[in-house]
Every structure is written in C-alpha cells, then in structure tokens.
Amino acid sequence: MTKRLLEVADLTKGFVTRGADGRIAQLKALRGVSFTLDRGETLGIVGESGSGKSTLARSVVRLIEPDGGSIRFDGTDARRLSGRERSQFNRRVQMVFQDPYSSLNPRMTVRAALAEAIGVHRLRPPAAVDGRIAELLDLVQLPQEAAERYPRDFSGGQRQRIGIARALAVEPDCLIADEIVSALDLSIQAQIINLLLELQARLDLAILFISHDLRIVRHISHRVGVMYLGEIVETGGAEQVFADPRHPYTQALIAAAPTLDPGRRGRQEAVHGELPSPIDLPAGCSFASRCVHVMERCLTMPPALLSVDRTRAARCYLTENAAPPALREKSP
C-alpha cells in the first residue's frame, strides 16, 4: 500500500454566468489547482469566500465535473471511472458538508441513513448491520438511542457527527471536509475538530480540510494550501506557512486573523483594494491590485508557483530570491 492517496493536478473549472455588463461570461472558479494527499495526512485549504474552496471540494468527489486537469486516486484516474468503479471511488472518498441542517435527509432516521450506506455497498451481512451502526455511533460519540431519531431531533453539532458517521459508514480512505465547523458554536467546533483528529489517528484517514478559519486549519493540518481566486498561491507545512508566510496574500491573511490577545488586536485592514472579479481577471498576478510589494512585471506576467525550499512554494516573484528584509519584518 502506497502512502500517496490522492494526486490532483491542474484542476480547472469555469461556470457560465452573466457578467456585470449583462454579457455571458465565464467565472473561473478553479484555475489550475494541484495538490497531493497521503494516507493519514491532513491538508488544509484556506482562503476567503469565493476563492474556489468549495468548488475544489466538490470537484474532487466528482459532484462537479471539472473542465480540465486530473484526479488520481490510489493509482487510478478517478475522472475516467464509471459504473461500479465510480461507485467504489465515491465510497472511498467521502465528503462531509458545511450545513448540518440540509445535509441529512429529514425523513430518514439515523439508523435508516447508516443502514442504507452500509447496505448499498454490501459492507456487512444484513445480520451485522445493527452492530456496525452501534459501532459507528460509538465512533462519533453519539448515544445509542440516537439511532431511532430523526435529524430534526438533534443540534447542529450532533447533526455534524451524524454526517461524519454516515461518511464513515462506507469505510472511506479519504474525507473531504468542506467548512464542516463554520456553522457551529465555538465550543462545539473544538469537539468536532478533536473528533476528526481522533478518527484520523484510529482509521488512518486522509483529510482534505477546507476552511476559512486560519486557527483551526493551523491546528488540524499537516500541510496547508492557501487559495486565492481559484489558485493555490502558497503551500507548505502548516507550521512553516503560518510562522513564516512568503506570499503577500498569506501574510495579509495571517495579519488580519483575529487574535485572542486584546493588546495585539488591531483595526488594521487585511488587504487593501477590491478583490478582482473572477469573471474578468487581470493579465498578471491576480493579487497585484492589492499587493503592497507590487512590481512592474507582476502586472503583465503571472508568476508560477515558485519553490521556496523542498516542501514549500509560493506563487510570487519575491520568493525567487529569499524574501527581502522588508517582508521579513512583517512576518511575526
């Protein structure tokens, strides 16, 4: 069994919309996103709303058909699969959704929902299904009597546990968690995050953790990718990226993140200027219009993802040579 589970390369996706002038235009939600994910590893994806995070999540599980690029899962080309193999791929890569209220079928008890998932993929003989449901409820730390209840009987955090149990029912190798805690209270967020970490350790799950919350991503991820307008602008080990961000956008994000220390709380604006429209992208670097370090070539030629060192890369010309002193001072 190889360690590498998921290999996404150059994924692109555009949506046809009507632009501000009323003409039909293409909104580029993903512009060549690449990443890899190993077994037992968590890759965090951070970015503002509209950066393409959810499109990425839904493309990876094939709820959205990407326009281009490749998704290799466990050595096979996931985009070519059909029929039984496709169903197997779907089973092995499970998504947990953001909204715990709409992600569960309101007319199915917890038992019915879990039994269906187990039954469709014939993962247990019928006689063993009830035992497996009990096991799953234990796994997500819900009481056994939850099985007979309907989603409306549960709170948001409990529903999210049910969503996780449903995903785990089909014994996946990989979880795609799209903003799974953003609809929950802070204290419940911590419980769900800890549950996820525990499950990862027990089941050797690979997790693609998508969130706009930098602190949570830092806490849970081994590696992170920072998304901006459909591109990954910086990747690297979570600690490295957060401690020493190289892309000006990452730096701005981290500077703007709320801190718990009131003395350090600033009123400073994170990034100046408007987010460029994803329908009408600038010719050069997409961050150029808001960047404090903008140079002439940034406006004409978009930078490639340039390596900082063996594990890190940033889509910025400043990384070509080591970051200039001015940049160093800004980073915490």
Binding site: N90, M95, F97, S102, S103, L142, R152, D153, F154, V170
Partner: protein, 277 residues
C-alpha cells in the same frame, strides 16, 4: 452527552384537519353504503308526492317524479366521490412521475414539459375538458379520460419544482457522494421530501374535480341519467327553480360541503407536513 429532546412534532390535531377529515369520512361512509343511509330508493317514482316541499317524510323534498331528493343526494355522493378520486389519481401518479424525472434530469425533456405547461395553462381548464369530451362523447369514463389528459400537467409542474429544490440540498449531494444510484436518490431521498405539497394539491384538486364533474353533469356531459350526480340533480331542478327551489338548492349545498371538506383536509395536511419539517 444526551440527545436533546426538543419535540417539534405536532402534539395536537388542528381544527381544519379534524373538520375536513370528518366531512370526508361521512362522505366515504355514505358513498360505500348509501342503501343504509338513504331513507328511500333514489330511483323510485312516487306520483302521489311529486314536487313535494321539504317535510318530515321527505326532508329535502321530492322532484317532478316524486323521487326523494335527500336519497338522491346521498346516492350521488358515490358518483361524485368517484369523480374526485378516479379523475385525479391517474394525473397524480403520472404527473408526479414525469415531473420528478424531468426535475432531476432536466435537459430537453424539461423544455418540452415547460412549453406543454404554457400551452395547457393558456386554456381555461373547463373549456379544454369540454373540448376533449366533445371529441370522446359524454359519460363518466370519458370524463375521467378528459380530466386526466389535462390535469397531469399541473402535478408534473409542481413535482418538477419541488424536485429542483430538493436536489440542490446537500443531502441529495451526499447521496450522490455515497455512490447511490439515481433510482434510489430519486425515489428514496428526493420524492419523500417533495411529496408534501403534491398531496396537499391533490386534496384541492379533488375538490376541483367534483366542481368540474358537477359542472359537466349539469351540462349533460358527465354522469348520464338515471345516475344521480349532484350537478345533474341541479340540472333536473333548473326548470322548477321558481316553484321547487329545493331540487336545486340541496345538491348545491352538497357540492359546497364536499368542496369544503376537501379544502379543509388539504389545508390540515399541509399544516401537518409543514410542522413536521
């Protein structure tokens, strides 16, 4: 941690539902066993009591042949309830099925359905049904066919709209993500969540079918004599309106009560389904 036990289920039946189902239940009993409920044989002529006004012997009076109006109304319940059910049950099933599939798959079928809906709603329902009966000929069976040919479109439109909403919810995405097949997603997940408004509309539609059936009965295009049907009963009395009002008024009240029963029950069911969400 305990499961929180906020009970959002309705713990009390609401008056509309109680009244509505009470009326419908009485109608159903009457329709099934009219011979036990009706005081007279509805087809028996009595030339000693023609056009008799309401009295203790004949509570709703008699018609020009001396037939007991109350008995005829009670026997007509069977025909009118039949019209309500038989003319709508086909459209409900076919329309819901077509609307569901079109809503889920979309594409060219969606365009065709929408144009068809546009065409059908352009015509007044009654005119369209009369037109079809003009081709098929009068009678109850042709009435069912005529209503069925038009009515399914409304259920298809409703089902399509409901499925469009449901299939965009995350639980539908989750079902796809779990590798479920389209038949399972459509019939086990989406349809049960979309069926509420369809059932509610069905109740209303049965009331409309009774109105339509009696309108056509009045015009002589529906139930044929000697069958007793509320609309036909009204037509029987129309020549005696000035002298024997009871022949037309009481069947009219029966239609109103039946329509009321269906509407109340429909409202009640809608309310019940809303609060179960």
């Amino acid at each position: 941690m305990t499961v929180d036990t906020v009970d959002r289920r309705p713990n009390r039946l609401q008056p509309p539902l109680i009244f509505g189902t009470a009326i419908l239940t009485l109608m159903l009993i009457t329709a099934l066993l009219p011979q036990f409920v009706a005081p007279y044989d509805p087809t028996r002529f009595d030339y000693h009591a023609t056009l008799a006004p309401p009295s203790l012997a004949h509570l709703f009076g008699t018609d020009m042949y001396g037939r007991d109006i109350l008995s005829r109304i009670l026997w007509a319940t069977r025909i009118d309830l039949q019209i309500a059910v038989f003319s709508t049950v086909g459209p409900v099933i076919v329309g819901t099925l077509i609307g569901t599939l079109v809503g889920y798959y979309g594409g060219f079928a969606d365009i065709v359905l929408n144009r068809l809906v546009d065409v059908v709603v352009t015509f007044p329902f009654l005119v369209l049904v009369i037109g079809i009966i003009a081709i098929l000929g009068p009678g109850l069976t042709n009435l069912y066919i005529a209503i069925g040919l038009v009515d399914w479109v409304f259920f298809a439109r409703l089902a399509r709209a409901e499925i469009l909403v449901q299939r965009r919810l995350d639980y539908a995405h989750a079902a796809r993500g779990l590798g479920y097949g389209p038949a399972r997603i459509i019939f086990r997940h989406l349809l049960p969540n979309a069926i509420g408004p369809i059932i509610t509309y069905w109740m209303t539609d049965m009331a409309l079918a009774i109105l339509l059936g009696s309108s056509l009965g009045y015009l002589g295009l529906g139930a044929q004599p000697p069958l007793a049907e509320w609309g036909a009963l009204i037509a029987d009395g129309k020549n005696f309106m000035a002298t024997a009002w009871w022949i037309t008024v009481f069947p009219g009240i029966a239609i109103v009560v039946a329509g009321f029963g269906f509407s109340l029950a429909g409202d009640g069911v809608a309310d019940l389904l809303r609060r179960r969400e």
